[in-house]
Amino acid sequence: MNAATVFGLLATALVGVGLYGFIVNPQPLRKILAFNVIGSGVFLLFGAIARRGAALGLSGDPVPQALLITGIVVAFSATALAVTVLLRLFDETGSTTLSSGPAPSASDPDPAKARE
């Protein structure tokens, strides 16, 4: 197995782990983090494909590599905006819950109900 296959398969695992975390973690910040894990998996997959395109003495296809640099910067921009929205939400409401019901408080005996 060469590097492109090893890291290509790793990338598919990262997308899966990130997707699981994105669905399961209730905190918005953890969702942003998980989304970044998905994103890095997608980037790595694209990078493995770029590596397979090595030709004529170049160690990889430079076009996808250049697009990856653009992609990483754009992902950072989106993350920064998402984190700032989240912090403002916390400043305004004192909570960051995404559930549609009233925010479950620490004294809530049945937090599952609040989720309905």
Binding site: M1, A3, T5, V6, F7, G8, L9, L10, A13, L14, G16, L19, G21, I23, V24, P26, Q27, I32, L33, N36, V37, S40, F43, L44, L45, A48, I49, A50, G53, A55, L56, L58, S59, G60, D61, P62, Q65, A66, I69, T70, I72, V73, A75, F76, S77, T79, A80, V83, T84, L86, L87, R88, F90, D91, T96, P104, S105, A106, D108, A114
Partner: protein, 320 residues
């Protein structure tokens, strides 16, 4: 034997990704994410994408990690309530099945990629001569697909506008972030005095060698922005109020120069962002020199966050 150098980082990266997903404490998860970003850099080097490795370690791991760590520290009070919202076991099982299915589908795609792989490398090498740059990735970023780079710079600017517009009305035009107060004789203040001269030179070097070797303006600008953030966090200086005209001019100078050269291309070379014959290298340099300070400023201000304090001139208005 060489596979050890692929498999060990791959396993570490996978383990760190799982850790950031399952860690109970969000702060621990975000710290894990920084380690994850740094390990990914090793993967990028193994894939011979050194330019991407630099970007990943500077922006993907460094800046994004710092954003998440800071946010997790601020949101610590919401941890307990969020734990109560944890979905049921059935939901988790369904999510795990879905995630595994997506991974399996992608893995099948990876294993059945066409051989020989399609590549644009010959086209890039055939046309790199007239651009005058030696690094094929820089040639793609600045000549063949310059539109992407222009839009990328504008996306960063839009993100900053978005971050600023989240400020409450009463502090609009004020200074971003808190005023940091570190011990002036402490280690942070010491590092913030010693490191920036070195960091700025490293940043400019990485920017300059980008024409022929791995590096470039985004990676260099990130390092310069990081040095500014270090000085800010050590309390040695304060972030400028966002209403300052000079600051705003600095933010848009790079993209404006890029767009101006793009339109000049319509008149001189027949297409937007085209460079006339023999003028590619000087024009690329002008664009890069104009973009680099704007990018450093934009990245630094995005990291500094939304305005939180009204300008010092009117402290009474800021009081509730």
């Amino acid at each position: 034997m060489i596979e050890v150098f692929h498999l060990v980082p791959a396993l570490l990266i996978g383990a760190l990704a799982v850790y950031t997903t399952v860690a109970r404490d969000t702060f621990a998860a975000t710290v894990g994410f920084i380690a994850y970003g740094l390990m990914l850099t090793v993967a990028w080097v193994q894939l011979h994408g050194v330019d991407v490795a630099l970007t990943e370690s500077a922006i993907g791991g460094g800046l994004t990690g710092l954003l998440l760590v800071r946010a997790s520290a601020k949101l610590r009070a919401t941890e307990a309530a969020a734990r109560a919202e944890r979905p049921r076991a059935s939901t988790r099982l369904a999510a795990a099945i879905l995630a595994a299915a997506v991974s399996a589908g992608l893995a099948i795609a990876v294993l059945s990629l066409p051989d020989p792989a399609p590549t644009l490398a010959p086209e890039v090498l055939a046309n790199i001569g007239p651009t005058g740059v030696g690094n094929p990735i820089t040639a793609v970023l600045m000549a063949f697909r310059a539109t992407d780079t222009l839009l990328e710079a504008i996306v960063l600017l839009l993100a900053l506008v978005g971050v600023w517009s989240l400020a409450p009305d009463r502090v609009w035009g004020g200074r971003p972030g808190p005023r940091y107060n570190a011990d002036p004789d402490g280690i942070l203040a010491f590092i913030a005095r010693v490191l920036p001269p070195i960091g700025i030179i490293v940043g400019i070097y990485i920017f300059w060698v980008g024409a022929d070797d791995p590096g470039g303006k985004f990676q260099g600008a990130t390092i310069v922005a990081a040095m500014w953030l270090l000085v800010l966090m050590a309390g040695l200086t304060d972030a400028p109020p966002i209403s300052r005209r000079l600051l705003r001019a600095g933010l848009v100078a790079g993209p404006v120069a890029f767009i101006a050269i793009g339109f000049a291309g319509v008149a001189t070379a027949g297409a937007f962002l085209a460079y006339p014959d023999g003028w590619s290298k000087p024009l690329i340099l002008v664009v890069e020199f104009a973009l680099m300070p704007s990018l450093a400023l934009t990245l630094g201000l995005i990291m500094a966050g939304a305005p939180e304090r009204a300008e010092a001139a009117s402290p009474r208005e800021a009081a509730p």
